[in-house]
């Protein structure tokens, strides 16, 4: 397997014991090794996901084929989608980000190396959970979107669905942790002189992706949590038969799902924004617009989710709103196409494999983008959504965009990662196999779509033309599989016998080319000083240095505190999570008649009393922080202890309330009020308990006079989280106990 080969030849000293080497990889906290682990794991899952795709194509070769049973087919496309998005697309991009973001900003590592390792290990763990479902007799088969109520217990009894949920929660937590890490790394660890306006575009896109991930994944997590509560504890959030909502799941899923598309495409934008300028020997055209338009994409991507739901019947107003949002988001994307083309224009283009993949990206992505615009015209969507046309559309985006961007990046950065060049000859084979495969498979599918073939059907009647087109699509899939094998062969051979690369084989512009290939453990012997967007270019071409010709805003030297920044990012993520849980509460408990169910069941004054304790704990923590800053360590410990006592008191209050409710037979599966009530307060309680644990650890460390606690910003970061938990409680109390918004 490539998983063990690639790393060992890439990094380790010869003669080291294999076991030691393995342990080294397992225990590594080096961002480059973790990056490679991410990439190799993704390649492994690419094999699985690709195999599933091939099985799907085989089943659809003939009408009325019985190669796969209906159930198995449904499992295959569910696993294919889930695998490709969560176990291939995101990890491989995070892998490249992990490897190259610190290098490109002149850092020695990411901000939190150990958190980085944890993020990575959640990936195989989540992947194993997901694939373990096969052992239970049936893999999940409700689609990667798992629309309720098909994914709820009455229609899906198998535990495979539960594995899907738990696996995805696991992967989601890992992704958010990885993104917080990259977010903080970009903000905090940049080399001196590298203002945020000077970061390479790949770094900027990584930053944008990190923000997207931090704010989008909690939407999925909250939906998954609710679905799991439905399935395991008998609530009915998504069961219409018991009052739940089938559409709410779709909203939550796509609130995550659409930003997810940009999570998958923005880093690829970043990659070709590095490749095209280098192989055109020109700077990127309109840096500010490429970067700024990505930021706009990030913002807009949260306002377009319901364009996946035009067939739901949300109403004409809502449909048009989301259509307009979707059309608007095409503008910043179109702007980028212009910038990339303009970058090539007037350049000195070297058509290496990396560059050819970038050009292929441009052409194929434009096709995917244009069909995307078609879907934004609502009536066209009404006709073509859920047909093979839409399958063709998003594969053009994800293969033509993300995958080609990744291949381009692979050929561009492989020399840096291994010190050896990939074979250009094999590279071109790979390119043409993929270009043929992509177009054969997915152009056919566009046609099948207008011929009326719905997606996700395990077989079809012998309609004229369907078989030929499906066969053609199958041939394309085989070509893509062949292209992948060529790539693996290329890597296999090149790692051993590839041409030596040297530090900067492509005459690259950015800092990763300023160190050796592969880079040493700490990346740079001396952290370079940066004065422009192309520091290595400036060194190579002092006569036309960017620093003089295109002045950029200088670095103010501002670097935020690592811990506090990460705490803010985490709090933002958690805020989205709670926001969506509270939205669910409001949705399910808005009674037009004005009767508030909660009032009858809850002892509001008692909870108000305990709430005062929680709010008081925020005050005491604030006091403790002040005292710590002014050096009163003894008093600080006292106030910190008091905070913990007050928080504990609140938790006791919650316990009393839960005990009272449960002993009077009010449980989570009673009705939608109890389901939402227990879910919201339960998750809040969980957060309070985690906060208490964190505070207790701080207290213990403080009692031992730990320097990090007494001198650093640990308390401030944890305090931020604690205040956040309190703010959430204020919202919970107002909405649930006092009945606001009902």
């Amino acid at each position: 397997m490539s998983e063990s080969d690639l790393p060992s030849s890439a990094e380790s000293a010869p003669g080291k014991a294999a076991l030691g080497n393995l342990l080294d990889w397992i225990s590594t906290v080096d961002h480059k090794k973790i990056g490679i682990l991410y990439i190799c794991t993704a390649v492994f899952f690419l094999g699985l996901g690709g195999l599933e795709a091939l099985l799907i194509r085989v089943q659809l070769l003939f009408p009325n084929n019985d190669f796969l049973s209906a159930d198995l087919f449904n499992q295959m496309f569910t696993m294919h989608g889930t695998t490709m998005v969560f176990l291939v697309g995101m990890p491989v991009l995070v892998g490249f980000q992990n490897y190259f973001v610190p290098l490109m900003i002149g850092a020695r590592d990411v901000a939190f190396p150990r958190l980085n390792a944890m993020s990575y290990w959640l990936l195989p763990f989540g992947g194993i959970l997901l694939y373990f479902s096969f052992m239970t007799g049936q893999a999940p088969d409700a689609g990667w979107f798992s629309y309720a109520p098909l994914s709820t217990k009455p229609y899906n009894l198998m535990p495979g669905q539960d594995y899907w949920i738990i696996g995805l929660i696991c992967l989601g937590i890992g992704s958010v942790a990885a993104s917080i890490n990259i977010f903080v790394t970009v903000l905090q660890c940049r080399a001196p002189g590298m203002s945020l306006q000077r970061v390479p575009l790949f770094v900027w896109m990584s930053l944008m992706t990190a923000i997207l991930t931090i704010l989008a994944l909690p939407a999925l997590n909250s939906a998954l949590a609710m679905l799991l509560i439905d399935r395991l504890l008998g609530a009915a959030f998504f069961e219409p038969a018991r009052g739940g909502s089938a559409v709410l799941w779709q909203h939550y899923f796509w609130v995550f799902g659409h930003p997810e598309v940009y999570i998958l495409i923005l880093p690829a934008f970043g990659m070709i924004s590095e490749v095209i300028p280098v192989f055109s020997r020109k700077p990127i055209y309109g840096y500010a617009f490429v970067a700024g338009s990505s930021a706009v994409i990030v913002l807009l991507s949260y306002g377009v989710w319901a364009h996946h739901m035009f067939a739901v019947g949300l109403g004409m107003g809502a449909d048009m709103f989301f259509a307009v949002g979707t059309l608007l988001i095409a503008l910043p994307t179109g702007l980028k196409i212009f910038n990339w083309t303009a970058t090539m224009w007037g350049g000195a283009i070297r058509l290496t494999t990396a560059m050819m993949f970038a050009v292929a990206f441009l052409l194929e992505f434009v096709i995917g983008g244009l069909t995307g615009v078609m879907f934004a015209a609502v009536p066209i969507d009404w006709q073509l959504t859920d047909t093979y046309f839409v399958v063709g559309h998003f594969h053009y985006v994800l293969i033509g965009g993300t995958v080609f961007g990744l291949f381009s990046a692979t050929y561009y950065w492989f020399p840096k990662m291994t010190g050896r060049m990939l074979s250009e000859r094999l590279g071109k084979w790979q390119l043409w196999l993929w270009v043929f495969g992509l177009n054969a498979t997915f152009l056919s599918q566009h046609v099948l779509g207008v011929m009326g073939m719905p997606r996700r059907v395990y077989t079809y009647a012998d309609n004229p033309g369907w078989m030929a087109l499906n066969a053609f699509a199958g041939a394309g899939a085989v070509a893509m599989a062949g292209g992948t094998l060529v790539m693996l062969l290329n890597i296999w051979v090149s790692v051993r016998k590839g041409e030596e690369a040297g530090d900067n084989p492509w005459e690259g512009f950015t800092l990763e080319w300023a160190t050796s290939s592969p880079p040493p453990a700490e990346n740079f012997a001396v952290i370079p000083e940066v004065a422009s967007r192309r520091p290595v270019w400036d060194l190579d071409h002092p006569e036309v240095a960017d620093a003089e010709r295109e002045p950029t805003p200088a670095d103010t030297g501002w670097r935020p505190d690592k811990l506090v920044t990460s705490a803010w990012a985490f709090v933002a993520s958690e805020a989205v999570f709670f926001l969506l849980l509270l939205v669910a509460y409001v949705v399910f408990n808005t009674d037009v008649a004005g009767e508030i169910v909660s009032a009858a069941m809850l002892d509001v004054p008692r909870t108000a009393f305990f709430s005062v304790a929680l709010l008081g704990s925020s005050f005491t923590l604030w006091r403790a922080e002040r005292l710590l800053n002014s050096g009163h360590h003894a008093k600080f410990r006292l106030w910190l202890g008091l905070t913990i006592v007050l928080g504990g008191f609140f938790i006791c209050g919650q316990a009393v309330e839960y005990y009272g409710l449960i002993s009077s037979d009010v449980t989570i599966d009673d009705n939608l009020f109890t389901a939402t009530f227990f879910t919201v307060t339960g998750f809040h309680g969980l957060h309070v308990i985690i906060g208490l644990l964190a505070l207790a650890i701080v207290l213990v460390l403080a009692l031992r006079n730990d320097r990090n606690v007494l001198g650093g910003t640990t308390l401030k970061a944890i305090g931020l989280y604690w205040h956040f938990v309190d703010v959430v409680w204020v919202a919970v109390f107002c909405i649930i106990y006092l009945g606001f918004l009902q």
Binding site: A246, S280, Y287, V366, V378, Y458
Partner: protein
């Protein structure tokens, strides 16, 4: 039937969508040609020569000039689709609960369609009969999971969602049979959840309606009588309904006029006595996972049942 249903509309709405689609296809084709042309010219003209090219960092003015055209295109597409969207609104004005507002009530089931003709008492399955030229309001709902109602040549696609009522317009300009499908993944047999829309000339439609309203007379043939007894004595009647027999459940397709339908099991088989028999013998052989159990019927029972069901015209 037709090969390219999206391009061969048979109703004003489907035609409007086709026109919009064709227009947007042309616009997209034009944009692609421009972009691809520019890229090709760039590749051809600017192959690497020895010299260092001019280092051009971009210009705000050109960016803004470039974005003007896409803005216009986007606004244009938004405007024409908005104009069209409004004409599709089939949601009835506020009405008292229980009042009949739709002409057809279609309910998705795993994996068949229940069709109720409002105000006539006619209930059928997997087949919709409509008069040519009349715009009908269809109410869509679901008995279990989410389905999606799609007759490409006649109407927009609309989901049938449990706990919700959706409305669309259904109309056919010419007599004929139109293929309909479920478009939203709805479980094991999503692939076989097809239906047919038969559009009749108005007078034919009236005839069909009159025929459909007749409760099938009790069979006279001895085999059919035995079949009827079998139908009522086995658990068939726990799920299926046949008017005039007392069987009135709607868990499975209504069989009142099954012999006059053209397909069995939502498109799996052509309706013929032989196929009906094969289906009854082992439903899972044709539609694995379907809710109809294998009753292990004897040959005698099968013959009787088929004889009886074939009388239900």
């Amino acid at each position: 039937m037709s090969n390219f249903p999206v391009f061969e509309p048979a109703s004003p709405q489907a035609e409007a969508i086709r026109d919009l689609f064709v227009q947007v296809l042309w616009i997209s084709g034009g944009i692609f040609a421009i972009v691809a042309g520019l890229i090709c010219v760039a590749l051809w003209k600017f192959r690497a020569a020895g010299d260092l090219p001019e280092q051009d960092f971009g210009s705000h003015r050109k960016e803004i000039a470039w974005i003007v055209a896409p803005v216009i295109v986007v606004l244009w597409i938004a405007a024409i689709s908005a104009k069209l969207v409004l004409t599709f609104n089939a949601v009835p004005q506020a009405h008292p609960p229980g009042e009949q507002v739709a002409d057809l009530i279609v309910t998705g089931h795993q994996w068949w369609w229940e069709v109720e003709y409002a105000g006539t008492g006619i209930v059928s399955a997997n087949e919709i009969h409509i008069p040519v030229g009349k715009r009908l309001r269809v109410q869509l709902s679901s008995a279990d999971v989410i389905h999606s109602f799609w007759v490409a040549r006649l109407a927009r696609k609309m989901d049938a969602i449990p706990g919700r009522e959706n409305f669309i317009w259904l109309q056919a300009d010419a007599a004929g049979v139109y293929q309909g499908r479920c478009a939203e993944f709805c479980g094991t047999q999503h692939a076989w959840m097809n239906f047919l829309v038969h559009a009749h000339e108005p007078e034919d439609y009236e005839k069909w309606l009159a025929r459909e309203k007749i409760v099938p007379p009790a069979p006279t043939d001895s085999k059919a009588i035995a079949g009827r007894r079998t139908f009522l004595s086995l658990t068939c009647s726990q799920c299926h309904a046949i008017a005039g027999t007392g069987a009135d459940r709607s868990i499975a397709p209504d069989l009142t006029h099954i012999a006059s339908r053209s397909e069995l099991a939502a498109g799996v088989l052509v309706n013929s006595p032989q196929n009906l028999r094969r289906w009854l013998k082992d439903p899972a052989a044709f539609k694995p996972g379907c809710k109809m159990p294998d009753f292990k019927l004897t040959d005698q029972q099968l013959d009787d049942l088929v004889a009886y069901l074939e009388t239900l015209k």
